[in-house]
C-alpha cells in the first residue's frame, strides 16, 4: 500500500504559562499512514493524541516538522490538505440549537458545496448516519449516540479521502459504540483512509490495520496487532483481585523467577509473567503465607494492554 500521510519530525512545544509540555520527542514524531488503512493512535489521556490530530488538520502550527498528506504540506498548502480530510473532533463540535440538517448544511457550505449538490449530499449523509427522520430536530434534543453520529456525519460532507476521528466513542452506551465502530469499518471498506485515536485497547484491536502506541507525547511502539503483541513475547498478564496488598507482598510476587514485574492498580495486582500458568501456584502460596484473601484470578493472553504495561509499567486505562 502507498503512503498517504507522512509525519516528518513533527513536534509541538506548548509554551508557558500553559505548561512546558512537548508532544513529540526532541527529534519529533515520524510516522507514515498508508492509503486505505485504519491507523489507530492508542494512548492514555494527555498522551498527545489530540495535539497530533490538531497539527495534522491545520489547527495547531507545529513547533517543528511538517505533515504531508496526499502530496500537500499542511504548513505550506493547508487548504489543499483540508480539502482531503474530514475531521471529527473529540468534543461534539456542533451547534446545539440548530438541527442536524442545518449543521450539515452549514459545514457543507464551508467545505465548498452549494445548491443541489449540497442538499443532495446532506440527504445522503443523513441516510448514512440513520437520522433522516429526526433531521429537523435540534441537536440539543438528541441522545448522546445520535449527537456522535451527526458529529461524524459533518466530517463526511465533502467526501474526504481521509477521516480523522478523535476518541469518537467516549461516554456513550455500548450499542452506540458498536454502531460507530461498524460505521468506521464501513467507511474504510468504501476506501477511506482512517486515523482513529482512542484509549480503549479493544477498539484499536478490533479496528486497526496498524497501531501506534503513544505515551507522554512519544510513539513508543508501532506495528500491526500481531507485531506488537510479539514484542511482549510469551508474556501473559496475571490479574489477581487482591484489595490493599502490602508493598512487601507485591515485592515478593515480583521477585518470583519468570515474573518480569508486579504492579498494583485499584484492587488488583498484575503480574507480567513468562508462561503465566506455571508461575501461578507460587504466587498463590506467597499470598496465602501473608494471610491475604484472594478474591479472584485471571490470566490474559498477550494483548495491547500487556504491551503497554510492558513498555511503560503502567496500565493503559489510568
Amino acid at each position: 500500500m502507498a503512503t498517504f500521510v507522512k509525519l516528518d519530525s513533527l513536534r509541538k512545544q506548548y509554551s508557558p504559562p500553559d505548561g512546558p509540555y512537548a508532544v513529540g520527542p526532541k527529534e519529533g514524531v515520524n510516522l507514515e499512514i498508508l492509503e486505505g488503512e485504519i491507523f489507530s493512535l492508542l494512548g492514555p489521556n494527555g498522551a498527545g493524541k489530540t495535539t497530533i490530530i490538531s497539527m495534522m488538520s491545520g489547527l495547531l502550527t507545529p513547533t517543528a516538522g511538517d505533515v504531508v498528506l496526499g502530496g500537500f504540506s499542511i504548513t505550506k498548502q493547508p487548504l489543499d490538505v483540508k480539502k482531503q480530510i474530514g475531521v471529527v473532533p473529540q468534543d461534539l463540535a456542533l451547534y446545539p440549537n440548530l438541527s442536524a440538517r442545518q449543521n450539515l448544511n452549514l459545514f457543507g457550505t464551508l467545505y465548498g458545496l452549494t445548491g443541489k449538490n449540497l442538499s443532495k449530499r446532506t440527504d445522503e449523509v443523513l441516510e448514512f448516519i440513520d437520522l433522516k427522520d429526526r433531521a429537523n430536530d435540534k441537536i440539543s434534543e438528541y441522545s448522546g449516540g445520535m449527537k456522535r453520529r451527526v458529529n461524524i456525519g459533518v466530517g463526511l460532507m465533502h467526501r474526504p479521502k481521509m477521516l480523522f476521528l478523535d476518541e469518537p466513542t467516549v461516554a456513550i452506551d455500548p450499542q452506540s459504540r458498536r454502531n460507530i465502530l461498524d460505521t468506521v469499518k464501513e467507511l474504510n471498506q468504501q476506501g477511506m483512509t482512517v486515523l482513529y485515536t482512542t484509549h480503549y485497547m479493544e477498539e484499536a484491536q478490533e479496528l486497526s490495520n496498524r497501531i501506534g502506541i503513544i505515551d507522554h507525547g512519544q510513539i513508543i511502539a508501532l506495528g500491526t496487532l500481531d507485531e506488537l503483541v510479539k514484542t511482549v513475547g510469551e508474556y501473559d498478564v496475571i490479574r489477581l483481585t487482591l484489595p490493599e496488598p502490602p508493598a512487601l507482598v507485591v515485592e515478593r510476587l515480583g521477585a518470583i523467577p519468570n515474573i518480569q514485574r508486579a504492579e498494583t492498580t485499584d484492587g488488583e495486582v498484575r503480574l507480567i509473567a513468562r508462561d503465566g500458568r506455571q508461575q501461578l501456584p507460587e504466587a498463590i502460596r506467597i499470598i496465602n503465607e501473608a494471610g491475604l484473601a484472594l478474591h479472584g484470578v485471571e490470566i490474559e493472553e498477550p494483548n495491547l494492554e500487556a504491551v503497554f504495561l510492558q513498555l511503560t509499567g503502567r496500565a493503559l486505562r489510568d
Binding site: 490538531s54 488538520s57 491545520g58 489547527l59 495547531l60 502550527t61 487548504l79 489543499d80 483540508k82 480539502k83 480530510i85 475531521v87 473532533p89 473529540q90 468534543d91 461534539l92 463540535a93 456542533l94 451547534y95 446545539p96 440549537n97 440548530l98 442545518q102 448544511n105 452549514l106 459545514f107 457550505t109 464551508l110 467545505y111 465548498g112 452549494t114 459533518v154
Partner: protein, 425 residues
Amino acid sequence: MLWRKIQAVAWADIYQAFTDRSALLFNFASPLAISMIIGAAFGGGSNDVDVEAAKVGVLNLDAGSAEVEQAFGDIYTRVLVEAPPEELIDFIEGKAITDEKKARQQVEDGDLDVLLVIPEDFTAKVIEPGKGGTLQVYYNPGAGIPGDVARSIIDGMTTQINNQNIALHVGIPYASEQAARNNQAIDAAVAYVQQASQQLREKEAITLNRVGVEGDVQEFNSLQYFGPGMAILFMTYALSNGAVSILVDQRNWTMQRIWTTPSPRTVYLGGKMVGVYATGLFQMIVLMLAMIFAANVVFGSGVAVWGTDVIGIVLVLVSVVAAGAGFALVIASFAKNPDQGGSISTLVLTVSGLLGGAFLPVDDVPILGQLSKLTLNRWGLDGFTTLSFDGGTVVDILPNVAVLLGMAVVFFTMAVFQFGRRFRS
C-alpha cells in the same frame, strides 16, 4: 464563494439569536415594556393633548418717547396682560412682572413659560431712524406647546409692527379696538408708525432676542427619550450574546471545526461580525417599529417617537449598531471564557447605558455629563432625540454619525487584533 461561506456562518448566529425564546423575551419585550412604562409614568406622550394656557410674564420698562404719546411697550402689555382679546384668552395667561430676576427664575423653574422683557429705551429705539428696538424673550424649552403658542403670538405681534402694515388696525384688530375705544394714545402711536414707515422700512425696527433657558428635563417627551435609550441598551445586550458566542464556539470546538474546513480563517471571524451586526440591526428595527405601534396604542395618537426624517433615522441606526457591534466584540475578545464574557459584557454595557443616559438624562450632571460623551449610547440617543424631539434633520445628526462610525472603526480594529492574537496557535 468566500462571501457565501461568511453568510453561512453569520446566518447560523442570526438564526440562533432569533429562535431562542428567552433571549427574545429579554431582548424585545423588556425594552419595550420599560420604555412604555416610563413613558406613561412621565406622561407627555401625545402631542395634541388639550393645550394649557401659556403663562406669560411681561416686564414693561418702556419709558416711551416725547415724540409719541404712547409707548410701544404698552401695546404688548395691553394685548397680553391687561385686556387680552377673546381669541387669546384660552391660550395666554398674562401677568405683569416687576422683578426681572425673580421672573427669570420662574421661567427656569417652569412656573412661567415665557418672559417678555421690554427695555426702557424700546420706543425711543424703534422710532429713531436706522436704529431698532430689541425685545428679550426668555422661554423654557421644556414648556412645550403652550410656550410655543405664546412665542408665536409675540412673534406675530412683532412682525405686524415691523411691517407697519397699519399693524394695529389690521394685524391685531383686537388691540386696535381696545385702542380706539380706550386710548387715543395708541392711535397716535399707530399714526406715528404709519408716518415713519418710509424710514423704518429700511430696517426691521424690532429685533426679537430669544434667550432659551435650560428646561427642566422632566418635560421631555419621555418616550422620545427613553424609547431610543432602552432600544440602544438592549441592542447592545443582544450584540454581546453574539460576540460572546465566539468564545462559546471556541469551547465547543465549532470554531476549530470551521477552521478545519478548506476556508481561510477570516471566514469565521468575518461571519461572526456580519452575524452580530445583522442581529443588532434587525433587533433595533423591530424594536423601533414596535415602539411606534405601542405608542399609538397606549397614547392614542401618532407620536413621532423617532421623528420623521427617515434618512436621518437610518443613518443614526446603522452607525449606532456598528459602534455597538464593535464594542461588544471588543469586550468579548478580552474575556477569559464565555461565562466571564457574559457577565463582564452585561456589566460594562449597563454602565455604558447608565452613563449614556439610558435610564436618566445625565447631560447636566457635572462629571457624568462629560463622561457620557465617551459612550456610544449617548451619541446614539442624542442622534435620535435630535431628530425627534428637536425636529432636527440629517445635517444636525452628522456629528453623531461620524463619532459613532469612528467608534465602530476603532472597536472593530481592536477586536480583530485581539481575537487574532488569542487564536494564534
